[in-house]
């Protein structure tokens, strides 16, 4: 047998061996193994009551992507700075506990990014906030806060206009609102609300806590847990941007203590501090909306002095308040999608490395009428 023949036989045998290994063993082509991805979710609250639908989406994704999710809340009763520190510590702790990725809803986005730069985590972090240009952030699942605020501002302004001015157009039709979810990223709120008010710069805030408002242009109260928390400032900017175009002043009410909202509402009741007309409140975040709705639901007096309550975000309880009429309308998004996408992106980040990826959630305007919409019902009430 010549060398050439030996070579040919050898190569043929080698090819067969490789084919055998490829087809009959896991040495070269591995069967898809069930790899569990340990992922930690660190939220920005001490309770998960605002993350109900998020958890459902998270669980669904965890089941689909074989993720072992550790859902972590913060210690209650601490201030924002302490919460930020807590989150940093939790990120480090979870990394040490062999978490492969972190999903983080930052209490204060900027502070958290700075802290992450310092702590330099070795695992991908998915932000439940606006995207950040950081090597530590592998992705973001977020809502356009400005767009949420704009929509809320437009709806509220339109409502006021309907009552205080000659109505130029009717209230936003259900179809218009439905369209807003699809086109929210492309068109401004004024487009689907049918408003024709000229664009103006943001109106100056009225002094906080004074309750003073011009008789012709009622002031809209903006309740928030804190502008520096989460993405509240974007919502605030959006609201002010929309209202300013209608020449409506706003009054920002940041929560200082447990009675801040109640006290502010009470001011509208007591003589001397009460404004001439019922007020409109826009809660810039879900916690503020929930608390305000509870306050209003608990007192018929307060309700009579509050023309409308709008807010951003939803829970089952909040939706019930919408159904009851306590809340006039709200702008929300799919918490289920947020949870599902965050896990999905975390798993992708684990499997493929840190490929910065962002997912912007669609927003929906919900009022009592639209609660019965079948499509919206499936989004607001995820099937478990």
């Amino acid at each position: 047998m010549s060398v050439r023949e030996r070579l040919i036989w050898g190569v043929s045998a080698a090819i067969l061996a490789v084919l055998f290994l490829m087809s009959s063993t896991d040495l070269l082509i591995k069967e898809k193994e069930t790899q569990v991805h340990p992922i930690s979710v660190i939220i920005d609250h001490s309770s998960d009551e605002y993350y109900g639908n998020f958890r459902k989406g998270m669980d669904k994704a965890a089941e689909e992507y074989q993720a072992d999710v550790n859902f972590i809340t913060l210690y209650p009763g601490t201030d924002a700075a302490a919460k930020v520190r807590q989150q940093v510590e939790l990120v480090q702790r979870e990394e040490n506990d062999d978490a492969k990725a972190i999903i983080l809803a930052p209490v204060k986005r900027a502070d958290m990014l700075a802290a992450l730069e310092l702590s330099n985590p070795g695992i991908p972090v998915i932000l439940l906030a606006d995207p950040a240009d950081s090597k530590h952030i592998a992705g973001s699942v977020y809502v356009d806060g400005f767009q949420v605020g704009s929509l809320l501002g437009d709806v509220a302004a339109r409502d006021i206009s309907d009552e205080t001015r000659a109505p130029a157009t009717g209230p936003p039709a259900a179809d218009d609102i439905a369209d807003s979810s699809a086109g929210a990223g492309a068109t401004g709120p004024a487009d689907y609300l049918g408003a024709t008010a000229p664009q103006q710069g943001p109106a100056p805030d009225a002094p906080s806590g004074t309750g003073a408002s011009p008789a012709t242009a009622p002031t809209i109260y903006l309740f928030t847990e804190g502008l520096d928390l989460g993405g509240h400032s974007h919502v605030y900017d959006g609201v002010r941007s929309a209202l300013s175009s209608y020449g409506i002043a706003t009054r920002l009410v940041e929560k200082k203590d447990a009675d801040t909202y109640r006290a502010t509402i009470e001011e509208t009741v007591y003589p001397g501090t009460a404004p001439d007309t019922p007020i409109t409140i826009i809660a810039l975040d879900v916690a503020a909306l929930d608390e305000t709705a509870r306050i209003l639901a608990g007192s018929s007096v307060f309700a009579s002095h509050v023309r409308a309550l709008y807010g951003a975000g939803s829970t089952t309880s909040i939706l019930n308040q919408v159904d009851k009429g306590v809340i006039t309308g709200l702008v929300t998004w799919s918490g289920f999608d947020a949870g599902y996408l965050s896990i999905q992106k975390a798993v992708e980040a684990i499997d493929t490395g840190r490929q910065p990826d962002q997912a912007k959630l669609d927003i929906y305007y919900v009022d009592k009428e639209r609660l019965k919409d079948k499509d919206l019902e499936k989004i607001l009430y995820p099937i478990e």
């Binding site: 087809s23 089952t316 599902y340």
Partner: protein
């Protein structure tokens, strides 16, 4: 393909055949297996979907029976103005509470008359606008199943919501003497419905979902993702499918869709099996099929290689031996292995080689015999002529009363012939050779008295050596006839024999006219060349350039003019008168014209024939300076030659090579035997054949 070997041809055709067969079988096997697998999956999918359909049908019928029980067993027989039906409803609810969320009875105005478990309507709730309520009253004879929805009419925990499928029907309500229509509501827990579907999986990645008759999703494992647009499903298309298997494509994935309609509701259970998840379609299975096909081809190729090798190796082996035969090794043992045909061919080739060898040997022997016969003939020709002339001289002596001279002549003649015969041997002692030439010179001297003188000199170690017979006589003969031609009593012929190492030298010198170098070179020219040209003197004297150029006086001159200078019979030296009569002239024949044939050329050829190409004659001559012809032979003791006479004679029968081998051995190593064989074919044969023994003896001799 012209130069393609048999093995390659066999290998290629076998392998191509095997390849085609393997690929065909592989594809057929794969197609068949894949088809069967797909068919099995279709059947199993259909079976599973049918089972799920039966379960769903059974489940819904249970709920419908419950509805019937509630209506016919509880509501219809009760007077709601008189008694509560709560206990009966509760009993039925408790029996089915795993599947039920609420049971409620409403008046046609939307007032809740009874509910289990106890609940109240939300203040804002208006059931008269609910689809299930409207459907029940619009078609009172039917049971109406809603699609899944969140039941929000009851005042419950504000942090909870319940997905339900509502079964509603119109009922007859009795209140005292009045009967009226109402609506019975049964809320089926969505998760109980889900449990029926959730555990059903179709193969790897397959799933089952449930749609209403208009395609709305009732259950889907990814319902929430589909609702939010992050997943897709062909549920609207599936609504148009009839029961059975269908194929569709979603997001580039081909799928097997199995549809089964659930009896009363018109809902459809849809089973989905991705076709690329069929086990035979995955990459590893395909690789396994490729491996099997290639493995079969590999094995067949090995077998092909073995078979082709089995066939062609004997042919190659045979070819090697044929090549040897072609190279002249006719004694090579021909390969006769392999198959019958090859074995038979080998045997035949071997037989042919032997036949060729035999024929060649015969030709050689015949050739040698011919040459030998020619020599013998030439040798024998001298005898009658010489005898005739000598007897003529003896007669002349007797007639002139010179009895003493006659006695001497007769005696010399007798000795001369005795040695000439030498028992038929070609090799004789140098002593005999010298004696032979002495007798010849004596006779010739008696015949040509006063024309020349002669002397014979030999060393003491020379007489016992072996010499080729009749080497000197032709040289002396030519010296007499040519060298002494113009001498008048002062011609001298000197015969010498001496030994130098392993060489024996015999020389004949005369003081005749000598020759030019060109003439000397012509002495050893091939016979044919010499014959084409005019006969050239092979004697020790100069050859006349052309007949008649050297006229001799009298008859001798005439005879000399005839051109047959080296023919003793034709060259008659005129005897000195009174003297013996001259030699008679023999009839001119070709060999005779060249002389006796035992001329210088023939002597030279004989020596080379017997002793090899290193031996032979050499001539030293110059015009007017005489000529010396030296015979060079190996110095072999004659007694040693006699001891091996039998071997030599046997070898001599095949040619003179043994002697040549003997001659070659002393001059060099045994390798020269081969050299000699290469130079001289006869010597070569001796060295390769019987020369083995001779070579050994020759070595011993040296």
């Amino acid at each position: 393909m012209k130069n393609t070997s048999i093995r390659t041809t066999i290998f290629i055709y076998f392998t191509l055949t095997a390849l085609a067969a393997s690929v065909f079988i592989g594809i057929s096997f794969y197609t068949r297996l894949s088809g069967q697998m797909s068919q099995t999956i279709r059947e199993e999918s259909q079976i599973l979907v049918n089972q799920t359909g039966r379960s769903m049908d059974s489940y819904l019928r249970t709920i419908m029976k419950l509805s019937d029980s509630l209506y016919y067993g509880v509501v219809k027989n009760a007077d709601l103005s008189d008694a509560s039906i709560n206990a009966e409803m509760t009993l039925l609810y408790d029996n089915n509470k795993d599947n039920l969320e609420n049971i409620a009875l409403f008046s046609k105005e939307g007032q809740m008359l009874e509910s289990v478990p106890a609940a109240r309507l939300k203040p804002t709730a208006d059931v008269t606008g609910e689809p299930w309520f409207l459907n029940a009253l619009s078609r009172t004879e039917n049971l109406h199943f809603s699609t899944p929805h969140v039941q929000s009419i009851f005042d419950a925990n504000e942090n909870q919501y319940k997905w339900v499928v509502t079964l509603s029907r119109a009922v007859e309500i009795t209140r005292g003497p009045d009967t009226d229509q109402g609506v019975l509501l049964i809320d089926i827990r969505y998760n109980s419905l889900e449990q029926l579907m959730d555990g059903v999986a179709l193969g790897n990645g397959g799933y089952v979902y449930l749609i209403s008759n208009d395609g709305e999703l009732i259950y889907h494992p990814k319902a929430q993702l589909i609702n939010s647009g992050r997943a897709h499903e062909n549920h609207l298309e599936a609504a148009a499918y009839k029961d059975g298997n269908h194929e569709d494509e979603l997001d580039g994935v081909r799928r097997l869709v199995t549809v089964k309609t659930v009896g009363y509701t018109g809902w459809k259970i849809v089973g989905v099996t991705p076709l690329d998840q069929v086990p035979l379609n995955n990459i590893k299975t395909q690789l396994l099929m490729v491996f099997i096909v290639l493995f079969v081809i590999f094995i067949l190729t090995i077998i092909n290689s073995y078979i082709s090798r089995r066939i062609t190796d004997p042919i190659k082996e045979l070819e090697k031996y044929v090549k040897k035969i072609e190279d002249g090794q006719l004694d090579a043992q021909v390969y006769t292995g392999g198959s019958y045909e090859i074995s038979h061919l080998g045997t035949t080739v071997g037989r042919m080689a032997r036949q060729i060898k035999r024929l060649m040997d015969d030709i050689v022997v015949e050739h040698e015999s011919k040459r030998r016969n020619e020599f013998d003939t030439l040798q024998s020709q001298i005898n009658p002529h010489f005898l005739y002339n000598t007897l003529d001289v003896i007669v002349w002596m007797i007639e002139n009363e010179k009895q003493a001279d006659a006695v001497k002549a007769v005696t010399a003649l007798a000795r001369f012939f005795r040695i000439s015969l030498s028992g038929g041997r070609s090799i004789i002692p140098v002593q005999d050779e010298l004696e032979h030439v002495r007798n010849y010179l004596m006779i010739q001297h008696m015949r040509y008295k006063n024309r020349f003188s002669y002397s014979i000199e030999a060393g003491d170690d020379v007489p016992g050596l072996a010499s080729l017979k009749l080497v000197l006589q032709p040289l002396v003969e030519n010296a007499i006839y040519h060298g002494m031609e113009f001498m008048d009593g002062d011609g001298e012929i000197t015969v010498r024999a001496w030994r130098e190492g392993n060489d024996l030298y015999l020389s004949v010198a005369d003081n005749g006219l000598g020759m030019t170098q060109e003439q000397a070179a012509q002495l050893f020219a091939p016979l044919e060349t010499a014959a084409v040209r005019e006969p050239v003197s092979v004697g020790t004297g100069p050859a006349p350039p052309s007949p008649g150029a050297m006229p001799s006086p009298g008859a001798t001159a005439k005879a000399g003019a005839s051109g047959s200078l080296d023919t003793p019979s034709s060259l008659a030296l005129a005897p000195t008168a009174p003297g013996p009569p001259p030699f008679t002239v023999t009839p001119p024949m070709r060999s005779a014209r060249r002389g006796s044939g035992i001329g210088v050329r023939n002597v030279n050829e004989r020596i080379k024939l017997y002793f090899g190409p290193d031996y032979g004659l050499s001539v030293e001559t110059e015009p007017d300076m005489g000529t010396t012809v030296i015979a060079h032979m190996p110095a072999i003791p004659y007694n040693h030659y006699q001891e091996h006479m039998g071997v030599q004679e046997h070898a001599a029968a095949r040619g003179a090579a043994p002697v040549a081998a003997q001659a070659a051995q002393p001059r060099s190593t045994s390798g020269n035997a081969t050299e000699a064989a290469q130079i001289h074919p006869l010597a070569g044969r001796a060295a390769n054949g019987g020369g083995a023994v001779i070579g050994k003896e020759a070595g011993h001799v040296s």
